[in-house]
Symmetry: C2
Subunit: 338 residues, 2 copies
């Protein structure tokens, strides 16, 4: 019995590996597709996730006491702020469009230029960025240590008295890993429910594949799994000074290479591109067609692709708003106007 | 039978009326107390409340697309922002401390100076205040009308095609009316659970009554039901230019008269006073004793009163974070940096 189970497991493993190698999902009665459904979140450590949620919503991690992770990755608004570029400490204009936090665990790296290898590394960035939350890791940790309820919660979650930026970012990342959006209509279709898409949406998907959009926007996250140059056929014109991947690698060849954004929930994450220049999906599809593929979509093709993209909106995380532990008399007070 | 029921109802009604006239609650085996328990919220129109919740969390009601009602009345932080004075559009420094939205329906009027007679009138204020959300009612309404999901939701809730600032503020007020915090330990004690308070807390409550704090901080909201002068015995020194009630009545006698703030959830709503000058409860109790009562509390008395005040933290509203309907292609985009 044991031997047979092992044999089955290996067989199952091989099949899955083969399919993953194809970048495809094989559903009953269906051809392999270059996009795979978003799996539901697996919460293995609920207390860590709950702590991470509190930290995600806690504006005391910013110098001003006003800006939290949720300010720019607003979970009421597709995990983004729907601004061209974000607002930072003292109303500073952010350098780049806030990418959605939804499904971000499925990306190959974090930030538009991929400078953080994972969510944990990302989470520490904005806290200490003078243009964003404008705090320091030391001050953030000191603040949390002054709040008895946080201290005991960290201790419970991490089974240690250590409360450093490591535990803070681990908890935030654990929460963010749960922010996936399964069950989009497109995923229902992928899983075999032929009625989940209407004729126009299906036509849009076929055009999306046939035109080459899918070359970069594929996989579970319909993007997020490679860096690509913005403006392959025609150069992209923008006042935004972001250099993309070159800023990380130092290679001139990587200038204007950006992480391909996910198209999951794209109907919620307007405006589009790293500079937020495209206000609507129609405009984004038009620009991408011309600049990346040398293709001018007809109005009908554009409308079809947009209709398809709207089927990528998944089930949004249902979150109970956290109640934050209050500051103690020893907690340093924010000074937003100094 | 019917007659007997009616008779009982009248009797019940009379008893309640009589008790209300005394400003007291008569629990079994208990003397009447000058503070009454917070009743649980009665939701008579859940769809209106749900719409109001969305509007409360929607930053598109601000010019910048960044500031929502929840920014300054943060429901993760006792319905306040825990800042001395709030941050407005373009990081403007607010003129006054944000009062908590929790239990605000129990106040005799809204704002520190009571210039809005109810929550509905209040809700329209910050949206159009150039120093706060910096929008206009017309622009806010135009924006909502451009979002199909909002249009149909308003229609469903109000049974009319009319979508004006009236419906917007009615919905927000309906949501805010649900933001009550029943079941504080002090309320459990009021209702007869003698074990709900420990000896120090009870001593603190006795000192609170005996010293005269309760003269202004009484009723269901432990305040919120009268205007009083800040600095009766000794003048209150502050750089804050707020004039209080005089700005509404035009009477010089009303200078420095403010609405007595609620002490419900006061452990969560630091810093204290209209200028947010007191960082801790201990400091606030000390200042109030000296300036309002001509009394210097001993450290032990101060600690007792603070212990009592901490029993006024009620059950915080458990809210599912709303998912906001996305903007349409026609929705005007925010321009936070112009």
């Amino acid at each position: 019995m044991k031997q047979r189970s092992t044999f089955r497991a290996i067989l199952g493993g091989l099949t899955t590996t083969a399919l993953l190698a194809m970048g495809a999902v094989q559903a009953k009665d269906m051809a392999p597709e270059p996009i795979q459904p978003v799996p539901a979140a697996k919460v293995t450590h609920p207390a860590k996730v709950e702590l991470g949620k509190k930290l995600f919503f806690d504006p005391r991690l910013s110098r001003s006491g006003f800006i939290s992770c949720n300010s720019c990755h607003n979970l009421s608004m597709g995990g983004s702020d729907n601004l061209k570029t974000s607002i930072g400490d003292k109303w500073q204009k952010g350098p780049i469009n806030s990418p959605t936090v939804l499904n971000s665990s499925l990306n190959l790296a974090q930030f538009w230029d991929g400078r953080a290898k994972d969510l944990r590394e990302q989470a520490g960035g904005p806290i200490a960025n003078p243009g964003e939350m404008a705090f320091t890791h030391d001050l953030a940790v000191d603040l949390l240590r002054s709040i008895p309820e946080y201290v005991s919660e960290f201790k419970k979650v991490f089974s240690t008295d250590k409360l450093s930026i490591d535990e803070v970012t681990l908890a935030i990342a654990a929460f963010e890993e749960t922010l996936v959006t399964p069950d989009a209509r497109f995923d229902q279709w992928l899983k075999g429910n032929k009625k989940a898409l209407n004729a126009q949406e299906l036509r849009g998907y076929q055009t999306f594949k046939a035109s080459g959009c899918v070359a970069c926007h594929n996989g579970v996250n319909v993007g997020g799994n490679s860096f690509q140059k913005m403006g392959i056929v025609e150069p992209y014109k923008t006042d935004n000074p972001a250099e993309g991947r070159a800023g990380v690698t130092g290679k001139d060849a990587d200038r204007f290479n950006f992480k391909v954004p996910t198209l999951r929930n794209v109907a919620l994450t307007y405006p589009y591109f790293h500079d937020g220049a495209a206000d609507t999906l129609s405009e984004a599809v038009d620009t991408m067609g011309r600049l990346q593929l040398g293709k001018t979509f007809t109005p009908a093709e554009n409308a079809d692709i947009v209709a398809f993209l709207r089927t990528l909106t998944g089930k949004q995380p249902q979150l109970t708003l956290p109640i934050l532990p209050p500051s103690s008399d020893q907690t340093p007070r924010p000074k937003p106007f100094e």
